[in-house]
């Protein structure tokens, strides 16, 4: 077996090129030719490593999910293994609020694939729901922990609160991309929502979290 090349590495290079192309131009600009040019390889090489367009898109979809997962694990690690639920939730939600170019790229790809999956049966696969499911599960678990510790009222339903927070984070991510909210305004809203959840009887607007910018 001569001239051994790390296939995983090559595939990652190509899906990364696809990501860059998609950021400027959308998924419909992610053609074999454009991606190959961006990656600095021939069109045939993309075909060689992915076979068909559908396979390329599926691989890119997985690539994005992995990137979100990695960012998520990094955020949990940064906040500490056994941080209080509120801080853990804050950190987890922050993953979906893009601040730098890399997270903007990840977020945009994520929503682009989500919307594409609505009309493209090839992209409509159970794995696509994995990220939202895991976020929801994570939030629900943290809220249950908080409730057990008496940090939130017994009236709150962890499942429903988790869904609301997950949709809030996803929506804020999209809003930031669309220029409707700044990352700071989005982080402020997350803090406000958490204040309403954890300090329901306080004047929610006046005291929320340690500050604006350390959600990242």
């Amino acid at each position: 077996m001569p001239r051994k090349v790390d296939h995983g590495q090559r595939r990652r290079e190509i899906t990364a090129a696809l990501a860059r192309i998609t950021v400027k131009g959308g998924l419909e600009a992610a053609t074999f030719r454009q991606v190959a040019a961006e990656a600095g390889v021939s069109v045939n090489l993309v075909q060689y490593y992915f076979g068909s367009k559908d396979e390329l898109l599926l691989a890119a979809q997985r690539h994005v999910a992995e990137r979100v997962g990695r960012r998520f694990r990094a955020a949990r690690l940064a906040v500490g293994e056994d941080a209080p639920p509120r801080d853990t939730i804050r950190a987890g939600l922050g993953v979906f609020l893009p601040r730098d170019a890399e997270s903007r790229e990840t977020t945009l790809l994520f929503v682009a694939f989500f919307v594409a999956a609505l009309t493209n049966p090839t992209l409509y696969r159970p794995e696509a729901r994995e990220v939202p499911d895991r976020l929801h599960g994570f939030l629900a678990e943290q809220i249950r922990r908080a409730r057990a510790a008496g940090e939130v009222s017994h009236g709150v339903d962890p499942e429903r609160e988790a869904t609301i927070l997950a949709l809030l984070a996803a929506g804020l991510g999209q809003s930031i991309l669309g220029g409707i909210h700044t990352p700071d305004a989005a982080a402020d809203l997350v803090d406000y929502a958490l204040a309403r959840l954890f300090d329901p009887d306080a004047s929610a607007a006046s005291r929320h979290g340690p500050g604006l910018t350390n959600i990242h």
Copy 2:
């Protein structure tokens, strides 16, 4: 001026055909040929009424915004001019939770255009933000009304609560399209969120709204 035809009507027929094509196949399937075939006219006629692809897409974008606006006004009318804020909000949010084919189509087009606008400068226009802005303004106003009437705590911030509710509705709409939530589950979540807002000290899960299915 012979053979007078209602241009507005023709344009509406064609943008409606574009909507149907987009539902099956996404915006990238909305080509002149496909749209013309769906509308039962020649390719040239589409060009005749819209000039270029960009103009066609812009017109379709406006068409969708108008449809959302019409649904919204109908919902407000259905609930009554001076209904209590909580019911008015419920009705307004229900506009974004698709139940039938027509509202699914509208919702899908709306998110498709939103995502497309993220990477297509032609579609990134101030009017695109009009629908979310109006929803936010509507919600903030209703919450202010409720606060003035003592129906919600003075601690709530109408602006931020409005943003959270708007993002919740938008996110739930997308979730329904993606098969993550059923319309009933989404309506239940809206009721839960409203219960938390209007009855913060009650056991929120156990009493929310008049029932599941009369958000539509």
